[in-house]
Each structure stands twice: as structure tokens, then as C-alpha cells.
């Protein structure tokens, strides 16, 4: 494992070098918040901002994605899979919580007999440059759910902000390929690495939320009929903010739209929180109210998914806590479940 150092002022040039070989997506100052967007030059990237409003999922699993085109020709119907024969991609400046979200998404979309090709094609050509979190926010709880502000899961190169420089930890072969031919990097000294280590310790200590999750999934297994669900959902208005911003929510809808030459089959974000998510043609809805829908979200993240994949479907990024219009706080829900 190679560890290098780069001066912060060299980073825009480093990104420019990457742009020669890759399509690069980096956090950009979108005015009111940071957003992960494609950058045409390194100077557009801004790594000093807080975690982007939406997670990296919006690049690899976009809100709207054409998964099929059907042409109505004279010989009949032809299906065509959109493919982007462009350069490989780099997601630059991804926080460990979002990178872990991608690891979980990879697990799910690659599982079983049917692999999700649209996602996996993009993921397969994407390298991740992570950015360790020196200052977790008060709403962050990555460590409570098995992650860490300096976590390396899903990351090919990890950057650590040392003040005037970034420590560069090359973690995978993909990371090595990314860094090939990039100049201006020096080997990290023992002192540099010690500084990074200290920052990692301080970041973990700085996490203000420590949730008791020992035995959470097992507890939830027996709680499907618990009266707690009657209360948990009361203030939830059933919008899509939590699911859409969540790095580990990936439910989707598929619709057809007609074009002048045929049909586009499009997948778009959906959420188990919407009323008609499970509405059947007969009019019957197995989840008729907010109670059942809230229960589903919590059970899926903290019981059903871990039962199947051995890991909680939550990376503690805190977006749902910050952005929920009515301050529904998943941390409080977990505490309530653990105290029943």
C-alpha cells in the first residue's frame, strides 16, 4: 500500500490530469450546498465543503435513467440498450459513508440470478477517490452502524486533509492506475502518517451520536406487531426526502415514455414511503397507512437487509436527520426500539 502526499494547491492540477483520462465527478459549490457533479476542470472541485446534498448514488444510480430504447421500425420492434462508450469514471471526494453506501448498493444489485446491468456497467468503470471526514457533523453516526469517518470500504484512494496537504493512501489496483503518471506527489513521511492517524482518532472521538445497536436486528424480528409502530410514523408526511437522499435506498419505478422514434423505458427513483408504492391493480394496498410504510423502511434497513447480507442498510450519513421536513430522526427511532 503506497502512501503519498500532495500539496492542496496542486490538487486542481491533479484533477485536471485525471480529467484527461476519466470523466470526473467531484463536489461542486452549487450555491446553497455542495453537489457531486461532473467537472470540466480541477478548479471547479471544492473539497472544503460539507458532504454533498445528495449521495454518490445520484451519479451511479441516477434519479432518471433510460434503461432501454425500443424503436418501432418497419420490420417490427427493436430493443436497444443505451451504452455510454465514454471514458471510465472517477468519483472524487467521496466521504466514507457514501462510499460504504456504494458497497452496499453493489452487494444488492449484484446479488442473485439477475444482476442489475445498468448500475453494474457504470459501477464497473468507476473508481472512487475518498475523502476522510475530519469533522463529522453532529448528525453523523457512521461508527454506530459499522462505519468510520476514515473508513476505507469501497474506496480506491483515500485522501486525508492534513491542513496544507492531503495524505494520499492508495488502496487498490484501481487506485494505482488512477495515480499513474500523476506528478507532484511525494512519499509520505512517518510524521505525515502519524498526523493522519491522530486525525482519524480525533474524528472518531468527535462523533456525537453513539447508538446502541447491539442485537437491533434480532430485536426487530420479533417486533412486527409492536405498538411502537403506531407512534413512530405520526409526524411523517410520507414524502421522498429521506429515501432520495439516502445512500442505501435504491427502490425504483419503471415507466415507458413515447418519443418520436419509439419508446424509452426509464427507471426513476421511488420510495416505499409513497402511498401507491405497493398499491395493487385490484385497489388493495398491503401498506395502507404511514404506519406500515414507516415500519417497512425501518425493518428493511435494520432487520431484513442485515438478515440477508450481514450488514445494516444504513451508513450513518445523517442526511435523513438533517433534511426531513418534520425532523423525523432515525436515531431516535433506533433508541426507542432498543428500549422497548
Amino acid at each position: 500500500m503506497k502512501i503519498k502526499i500532495v500539496d492542496k494547491k496542486e490538487v486542481p492540477a491533479l484533477i485536471d490530469r485525471l480529467i484527461e483520462r476519466y470523466r470526473v465527478f467531484a463536489p461542486v459549490d452549487a450555491g446553497k450546498y455542495a453537489r457531486l457533479m461532473e467537472v470540466a476542470s480541477g478548479s471547479e472541485a471544492c473539497l472544503e465543503l460539507q458532504n454533498p446534498k445528495l449521495s454518490s448514488k445520484e451519479i451511479l444510480f441516477p434519479q432518471t435513467e433510460i434503461i432501454l430504447r425500443i424503436k418501432k421500425g418497419e420490420e417490427g420492434l427493436e430493443t436497444e440498450e443505451p451504452s455510454e462508450n465514454d471514458k471510465d469514471w472517477v468519483l472524487f471526494g467521496v466521504h466514507p459513508c457514501d462510499a460504504k453506501g456504494l458497497v452496499l448498493t453493489d452487494k444488492f444489485f449484484a446479488s442473485g440470478d439477475y444482476k442489475d446491468k445498468p448500475y453494474m456497467d457504470k459501477r464497473g468503470k468507476t473508481s472512487i477517490v475518498g475523502l476522510a471526514c475530519n469533522h463529522p457533523r453532529a448528525t453523523c453516526f457512521c461508527a454506530s452502524v459499522g462505519g468510520s469517518p476514515f473508513g476505507k470500504e469501497g474506496i480506491d484512494i483515500l485522501l486525508v486533509d492534513l491542513g496544507e496537504e492531503y495524505l494520499i493512501e492508495i488502496l487498490t489496483e484501481r487506485g494505482e492506475r488512477m495515480i499513474e503518471g500523476v506528478h507532484g506527489l511525494r512519499d509520505a513521511s512517518d510524521d505525515d502518517m502519524a498526523r493522519a492517524e491522530k486525525m482519524s482518532e480525533e474524528a472518531e472521538k468527535a462523533l456525537q451520536t453513539d447508538l446502541p445497536i447491539e442485537g437491533l436486528s434480532e430485536r426487530l424480528e420479533g417486533m412486527f406487531e409492536d405498538p411502537l409502530w403506531d407512534k413512530v410514523h405520526l409526524k411523517c408526511v410520507g414524502c421522498g426526502v429521506c429515501s432520495y437522499l439516502c445512500p442505501t435506498c435504491w427502490c425504483f419505478d419503471i415507466i415507458d415514455e413515447e418519443t418520436s422514434t419509439g419508446v424509452e423505458r426509464i427507471r426513476l427513483w421511488d420510495t416505499c414511503q409513497f402511498t401507491q408504492f405497493t398499491l395493487q391493480g385490484s385497489g388493495f394496498n398491503p401498506r395502507p397507512s404511514g404506519k406500515e410504510r414507516m415500519r417497512q423502511r425501518i425493518m428493511h434497513k435494520f432487520c431484513y437487509f442485515p438478515k440477508e447480507y450481514g450488514v445494516l442498510a444504513c451508513t450513518g450519513c445523517g442526511r435523513c436527520v438533517r433534511e426531513c421536513p418534520v425532523n423525523q430522526d432515525i436515531r431516535e427511532t433506533i433508541k426507542e426500539i432498543m428500549s422497548v
Binding site: T79, G112, K117, D121, I254, T278, C303, F305
Partner: protein, 282 residues
């Protein structure tokens, strides 16, 4: 590019024959043939599985396969006109093209049924995959592997009975005990009258060496299960086919998730025992 096949890509099929099944004119059986002759010859499925049927421009929906695997070179889907996609399909003519993805789901467990008496209980339009199963069992190649076959099928009224042509054939056979009922008869109806659970109780099929499959509207299932239980069928010998809203059919879109299962992958067929272990959400 990752070299995996795209599970969202449908196969094109042509509508060879369209048959209206009921008087209300909102249930039709579509006989379809894949455009790719290799696929038409090699497509394999088991009764109880379903396909995701596309009308391009309207979308896709999950429909149980109504034909039996013993029917060669074509598939049948019986579709009720309910929403956008099914309405578009109902407006199709013979020769029109649709998309099919599949076969999806686990299907009826044929192996578990071999060597045993089989009781099929169907209500209304949900009878479609039981019809597939019955045809499969009745086929000369297969009949010998199964014991007695009892089929109890009911609809709201005589006009709503589907597969009338099959029912006529089966009535004449002696290797199937067919009981047809309607909730309410009309002036021409000379058959049984009564809800399926009631007629089921009357028929009292023996549970000895038997396995049962029930497929129908939720209320029919709710009242049929206690009857079967009383007749001595154990929860692992009562099979049900669940309905859930589906969009991808391959366990990715999240819609049909119940507990740690996906109805499109781990179902739609579940034993009553398995369902008792899942959250009560259907």
C-alpha cells in the same frame, strides 16, 4: 462493460390469437409466439411462473403464464383489463407485438406434488396458473406421476367463468374430479351455486397423501385455508400464490419485498407455513 445479460431487456413476441374469456369482455387470453424461433423452441418454464409483459409505450406488468409447459412453441397469458398496460394490451389485434421477460418466480413445486393426490382450489381470474398446472398434470406424459386430481373452481357468475373450453374437456375425463361453482347462477345455469370455500367444504377432498394449491382473491383464500386445515392439510401442504405489485420482476426494485423475501424471486408460490413466518403484509 460488464459482460452480463441485461435482465430488463424483453424478448419480442407476436400475438397469434386473442380469445375473450368472459361476458364482461375484460378478460382475454393471448396466445403469443416469440419472434426469435430459437427462443420459441427453447423457452422453458414451470406452471405458476409469470412473465413481465410489455406493451411498449404503456409499460410492463406481471402476468402468470396460463399455458402449460407441455404446449409447444407458444405461451398463453390471460389478462384482465385493469390499468394502463392491460388496457393497451386489450386494445391490441392479432399480429401486434409485445415484449416478454421471464419466466420469473418459483412456480408450483412439481416435485413435491409427484406421487401425491393434488387438490387445486381456484377463484375468479386468479385461476390462470392453476389452469396451467392442471393442464400440465393431465398431459399424457405426466399424468401417471400424480395421484388423484381434484379441481374446484368458482367465479362470481357463469359469464365470468374463464377457460370454459378446458372445463368442458375436463368434465368428460375420468382422471380429474372437476367441481365448478358460481357465487350466483343465472337462468341457464344448472351447476353448483355457492362460494368456493363453501363448495370446498362440501367436497371435502381427503388430505391423505395430498397437497393443495389455492389461488384466488384474498377473501377466498382467507376462508379456504381454515377449511383445508380442518380437512387435515398441514400448513406445509397448502400452497398459495401471492399477488404483489411488481415492476422489475427480478427482485431489484423493492416493491414486492415482504420481510427478507421478494415475492417475484422467492415466490409467488409460498406454503402456508412459509407465509406464517413472514410479516403479515399481504
Amino acid at each position: 462493460m460488464v459482460s452480463i445479460s441485461n435482465p430488463y431487456k424483453p424478448n419480442i413476441a407476436a400475438l397469434r390469437k386473442i380469445t375473450t374469456e368472459n361476458n364482461a369482455n375484460d378478460i382475454k387470453t393471448f396466445e403469443v409466439v416469440f419472434e426469435d424461433p430459437d427462443l420459441a423452441g427453447s423457452f422453458r418454464y414451470t406452471p405458476g411462473q409469470f412473465g413481465m409483459i410489455s406493451y411498449f409505450g404503456a409499460g410492463e406488468c406481471p402476468i402468470g403464464i396460463a399455458s402449460s409447459p407441455t404446449d409447444e412453441g407458444f405461451l398463453e397469458f390471460t389478462i384482465k383489463k385493469v390499468g394502463t398496460v392491460t388496457t393497451a394490451l386489450h386494445n391490441c389485434s392479432e399480429g401486434d407485438r409485445i415484449g416478454i421477460r421471464g419466466p420469473y418466480g418459483n412456480g408450483w413445486p412439481i416435485e413435491a406434488m409427484e406421487g401425491r393426490n393434488v387438490v387445486l382450489v381456484g377463484g375468479g381470474f386468479a385461476f390462470t396458473t392453476l389452469r396451467s398446472l392442471a393442464k400440465y398434470i393431465l398431459h399424457d406424459d405426466n399424468r401417471g406421476r400424480f395421484g388423484d386430481l381434484t379441481v374446484i373452481y368458482g367465479a362470481r357468475n357463469p359469464g365470468e367463468l374463464i377457460y370454459k373450453y378446458d372445463l368442458e374437456d375436463w368434465e368428460k375425463r375420468d382422471d380429474i374430479n372437476l367441481i365448478v361453482t358460481v357465487d350466483k347462477g343465472d337462468s341457464g345455469w344448472t351447476g353448483k351455486e355457492g362460494y368456493v370455500p363453501t363448495i370446498l367444504k362440501e367436497a371435502a377432498p381427503s388430505s391423505k397423501d395430498a397437497i393443495a394449491a389455492i389461488c384466488g382473491p384474498p377473501i377466498m383464500i382467507r376462508f379456504s385455508i381454515p377449511v383445508m386445515t380442518e380437512l387435515g392439510f398441514s400448513p406445509s401442504d397448502i400452497l398459495l400464490s401471492l399477488e404483489m405489485r411488481m415492476k422489475c420482476g427480478i427482485g431489484k426494485c423493492g416493491r414486492c419485498n415482504v420481510g427478507s423475501k421478494f415475492v417475484c424471486l422467492d415466490g409467488p408460490v409460498f406454503t402456508h407455513e412459509e407465509l406464517q413466518g413472514l410479516p403479515k403484509e399481504y
